[in-house]
């Protein structure tokens, strides 16, 4: 009798011991946490246009955006090398969900002030949210010197506005897709037939080829037919190459313009006719305010 009892006890004790380690791990099981999708895109731009990404809190980005002339302009223009549109842009993350930017592009010597707000963040776990949604808006000011003296030169007629919703989902670590409904308002248009408001719907995405390289595409379909007929939908194809401190984006596009108010309604090149431009973006990140964990240094 005693032996049996002892055996039972010994057995029970052993079971308890072996279960203990897993049991200890179970102690650490937290309430389900919410996991937010990160790095849906490598850069704040998919290619030419905006992605849902914005600079992290306390971080400043310097974007150098560059579109050469059309490749089919031939040897005389050295395949577009002679004509380039560039834009410099600084943006700063006030919080992780709010950033402001200031840009200057060669086209119409336009300055632009911009704002990006993350409205929703894709998450899984305790809280499920299928999409990340950001709002992007900018106001552009054409600062060309007055050349047309046939009409009064109002300051307001130099302004243009961009309002976009960026709706993205990171389907997997490899694939992210984004929808971009846009409303662009121009205070002054070229002809009487043109409407001041242009609506468009864009689709963009990236497929990661390796951890540091991805293939990207971006297309904007103009819903309004009010723009003059010589303009095309903007299509860009490119790769993102990440090299430590910066992201290098190399692409082909039919758009000369870099600001949304130019490349969405005023794309004058056609892929089918070979009006393709080579372009690149360089994004450099600077940490201005360190996270609180590092504030003491």
């Amino acid at each position: 009798m005693n032996r049996i009892a002892l055996l039972i006890i010994a057995l029970a004790f052993l079971t308890f011991q072996s279960a203990a380690q897993d049991d200890m791990m179970d102690l650490l099981d937290d309430a389900p946490t919410t996991e937010f999708a990160s790095a849906t895109f490598k850069s704040t731009h998919v290619i030419v246009g905006q992605s849902i990404e914005s600079p992290a809190k306390g971080t400043m980005l310097l974007n150098i955006q560059h579109h050469f002339g059309p490749v089919n302009s031939g040897f005389y223009n050295f395949f577009g090398f002679d004509q380039a549109v560039t834009r410099l842009r600084l943006s700063y993350g006030i919080t992780d969900w709010l950033s402001i930017g200031l840009g200057r592009t060669t086209q119409n010597k336009t300055w632009d002030g911009s704002l990006k707000i993350k409205l929703l963040r894709q998450s899984s776990g305790a809280r499920n949210m299928p999409f990340t949604i950001s709002y992007y808006g900018n106001i552009g000011i054409n600062t060309l010197e007055r050349t047309d003296f046939s009409r009064p030169d109002y300051f307001s007629s130099r302004l243009s506005y961009v309002n976009q919703l960026l709706i993205a989902r990171k389907f997997s670590s490899k694939l992210s897709l984004q929808l971009i409904p846009s409303l662009i308002h121009r205070n002054l248009v070229e002809t009487r037939q043109d409407d001041n408001d242009v609506y468009s719907l864009g689709a963009a995405g990236r497929v990661k080829l390796t951890n540091r390289m991805s293939f990207n595409f971006e297309y904007h379909y103009i819903l309004s037919k009010q723009t003059a007929s010589q303009y095309y939908n903007s299509l860009s194809l490119g790769v993102d190459i990440e090299t430590g401190g910066h992201v290098f984006q190399l692409f082909l596009t039919n758009s000369a313009g870099i600001n949304e108010q130019y490349f969405i309604p005023y794309t004058d090149g056609s892929w089918l006719k070979g009006d393709i431009r080579i372009g690149f973006n360089i994004v450099r990140t600077f940490t201005i305010v360190k996270p609180k964990e590092f504030a003491k240094y």
């Binding site: 009892a5 990440e242 996270p291």
Partner: protein, 183 residues
């Protein structure tokens, strides 16, 4: 009668073991690597850990995405390219304090500890051994340890373009503020 006594003893044992568990959810792990190109430093203040003062069993659970870096871009690269946090969200340690009997949890003081066990990072498990200290202060236990790991041991690849510029060994500091587990 003997059976009853023994069962009682066993229950007491079980109860005792339960009562001598310590736990934290706010442990701190930092890591540091000093390469010629980049000095990399990160902090995680939400480390889960538990210690059984009876058996010496000692476990850690670390959410990789909770590491905060000085530069946001580094944090993104850490999660995206190096430890692949989407695929391997957790790092765990399951091990033992080998000299648990030498530590008197009722007597304040600093005790040396030898810790050994399985460390899993990036889906790869290695047997590791290190030394540290436990500081007993009232009912609390403060565990501290410092050790290095090699990135290659955990299949964490350094891309060729930055090879030789980023250190291949990482210095890890753990500071855990264990408190008695209340039932």
């Amino acid at each position: 009668m003997k059976l009853i006594t023994l069962t009682t003893v066993l229950f007491l044992f079980a109860f005792q073991a339960e009562a001598q568990r310590y736990i934290t959810k706010t442990g701190r792990i930092t890591f540091f690597s000093d390469g010629p190109l980049e000095k990399i430093e990160a902090v995680n203040n939400g480390v889960n850990s538990a210690l059984d003062s009876q058996s010496g069993m000692f476990v850690f659970k670390v959410l990789m995405k909770s590491f905060v870096f000085e530069k946001a871009l580094m944090q993104e690269h850490f999660n995206e390219n190096y430890v692949e946090s989407d695929k391997y969200p957790l790092a765990t340690f399951k091990g033992k304090v080998k000299n648990i009997k030498d530590i008197d949890f009722t007597k304040p003081g600093i005790y040396d500890a030898e810790v050994e066990g399985d460390l899993t990072i990036h889906g790869k498990t290695n047997h590791v051994a290190t030394t540290g200290t436990f500081t007993i202060e009232g009912s609390d236990v403060l565990g501290k340890s410092l050790f290095t790991i090699k990135l290659a041991d955990y299949n964490i690849k350094i891309p060729s373009i930055v090879e030789g510029k980023i250190a291949e060994e990482i210095l890890i500091t753990t500071t855990i503020d264990l408190k008695p587990l209340k039932k």
